[in-house]
């Protein structure tokens, strides 16, 4: 789009307010449409006054693409020349109501074109396949059902939302295990395996059990400092210092998780009331012990 300006004979702003635009429009050259030419380039040249009262030439260049050569009836050709009505009348060239997608959209086939018809049968009628020997190979990775459906057709696919959230990460390990133990089929996380408790609270409880809350930390204390302090009691699985999201300052408390419960107990006994960075630490079990 190119814009060129020509200065108008001087117009007083007072006058301009009153007969704004419309009355001056007759001064403007008419709208010109050039093309579309052989390359499908169409030019629309318009003139209008801008806010400063200057005449502005607006050239809009668009490329016209020929769509499928549709044969139009006589009536349809007539309709082609119908005048615009309703809100479409006031439509200017700049308004982009209609756009061609920048994205190439393909019809996504559920399976590769030209795949064997036998495979088609499996997808279409899984029950018929059940009796055959090959059905055992069909194990759904989402729900773990054997021989009922493929993973992509799993009816519980959407229910397994939690696993979907991590789908990027396990993809690699997925492939690795699958390659290693090809006979076993795809990787199923321990929590998802048959017989395992599906709730996933197991791991969290283990963490909670050996979790130690440290309060009255000084603001300068960071996670590495805390790790250094607690490492002496045994192996630490996690250190966390609460940080204010807005200020980035420590909020003065944190959590330390130990691998062994005994280590945690020893750390509590030793460090509760310990003077650290001019403050007296308070160290206790993170969750009130039930037993």
């Amino acid at each position: 789009m190119s814009v060129s300006m020509q200065t108008q004979p001087k117009i007083r702003w007072g006058e301009l307010e009153e007969d704004d635009g419309e009355d001056l429009d007759f001064l403007l050259p008419p709208k010109q449409v050039i093309g579309p030419d052989d390359n499908g380039i169409k030019r629309v040249i318009e003139y209008k006054f801008n806010d400063d009262g200057n005449k502005v030439k607006i050239t809009t260049t668009t490329r016209i693409r020929k769509l499928a050569n549709a044969r139009l009836s006589k009536r349809a050709l007539e309709r082609r020349n119908w005048a615009k009505f309703g809100d479409a009348v006031r439509e200017d060239v700049g308004s982009r109501l209609t756009m061609v997608s920048t994205e190439e959209i393909l019809i996504e086939r559920p399976r590769a074109p030209g795949s064997k018809p036998e495979e088609t049968k499996v997808a279409g009628d899984p029950l018929a396949q059940l009796g055959k020997g090959g059905a055992v190979l069909m194990v759904c990775r989402t729900c773990g059902k054997k021989g009922d459906h493929w993973t992509s057709r799993c009816p519980y696919k959407d229910l397994a939302a939690s696993s979907e959230g991590f789908s990027e990460k396990p993809a690699t390990s997925d492939a690795a295990t699958a390659a290693a133990g090809a006979g076993k089929g795809a990787y199923v996380p321990p929590g998802m395996r048959a017989g395992a408790e599906r709730t996933g609270t197991d791991m969290r409880r283990r963490n909670d059990e050996n979790s130690v809350r440290v309060t009255n930390l000084s603001e300068d204390t960071r996670e590495p400092d805390l790790l250094e302090l607690f490492r002496t009691f045994g192996s630490v699985s996690r250190v966390y210092v609460a940080v204010d999201q807005k200020t980035g300052m420590s909020r003065g408390f944190g959590f330390v998780n130990f691998v062994n419960k005994d280590d945690a107990q020893r750390a509590i006994n030793k460090l509760n009331g310990y003077g650290y960075d001019n403050l007296i630490l308070r160290v206790e079990w993170a969750t009130p012990r039930t037993n």
Binding site: L67, A68, A70, L72, S73, R75, A76, R79, R80, W82, K84, F85, G86, D87, A88, V89, E91, R96, L97, T98, M99, V100, S101, T102, E103, E104, I105, L106, I107, E108, R109, P110, P113, G114, T120, A123, G124, P155, K157, D158, A161, E164, G165
Partner: protein, 326 residues
Amino acid sequence: MRPILMKGHERPLTYLKYNKDGDLLFSCAKDHTPTLWFADNGERLGTYRGHNGAVWCCDVSRDSMRLITGSADQTAKLWNVQTGAQLYTFNFDSPARSVDFSVGDKLVVITTDPFMELTSAIHVKRIAGDHTEQTGESVLTLKGPQGRINRAVWGPLNRTIISAGEDAVIRIWDSETGKLLKEADKEIGHKKTITSLSKSADGSHFLTGSLDKSAKLWDSRTLTLIKTYVTERPVNAVTMSPLLDHVVLGGGQDASAVTTTDHRAGKFEAKFFDKILQEEIGGVKGHFGPINALAFNPDGKSFSSGGEDGYVRIHHFDPDYFNIKI
């Protein structure tokens, strides 16, 4: 293919309709102005201003001169297609949900929603040749089905009216006497609200889409179930290719659940199924919300979809679409 995106509506689309020649596309949305587009390049030709509520449905006469629209403002309006002028307004006591011209455009069937104490109803009105003589008198009024009647269309030779709606039962009525002729078997029929109904090009069979995540193909005369297409999402819109043995289902989860779930779980695709083998051929993605409306160009070479996202997308098929083999 590169679809053409049309952003003329500010609210979710409700209905799309091609005229007989396939050069014009009418779109209805929950904003109050049905819009007319050129179906080949997506250029906006005009809007029909006058409704004061969501527009649920429209139909165009065979000669592409008259348009009828049904709206939530409790009216159905007759328009001049070319000028956008209102010709007549049918007033009702409840929102008009669906409209359909009969073969010959002499009659129109309009359904109205249950509202306050009123039950839903199917009205048959006569369309005058000269719009100045148009009256709002009903030729026939049918009542009975519980809940909303989402679609009512004319059966073969205008002898019957086929209706479907919230009670998930498809009914065939005699269009002269108003007698209930047939009712779809509850066992084989849909289990949830029927959201859409689309007739084949010759009217011999029709397709219904339902929130029970399936679409079913029925014989228009005998109301026998011919085929069932099962998908993973509630079906909001269905259409059939007039050229190939393809049916297209559009849908997606409830609009109210869109923001709370992963976009990948949404399935906002138009799904193509083989009409005879009942098998999925492919999906066309693109919308950012559930698909509410689908229409096939009568030449079978393009189709358009309208979504909850307010966009209409016209898809002109690539040549390889016509050679798809299963």
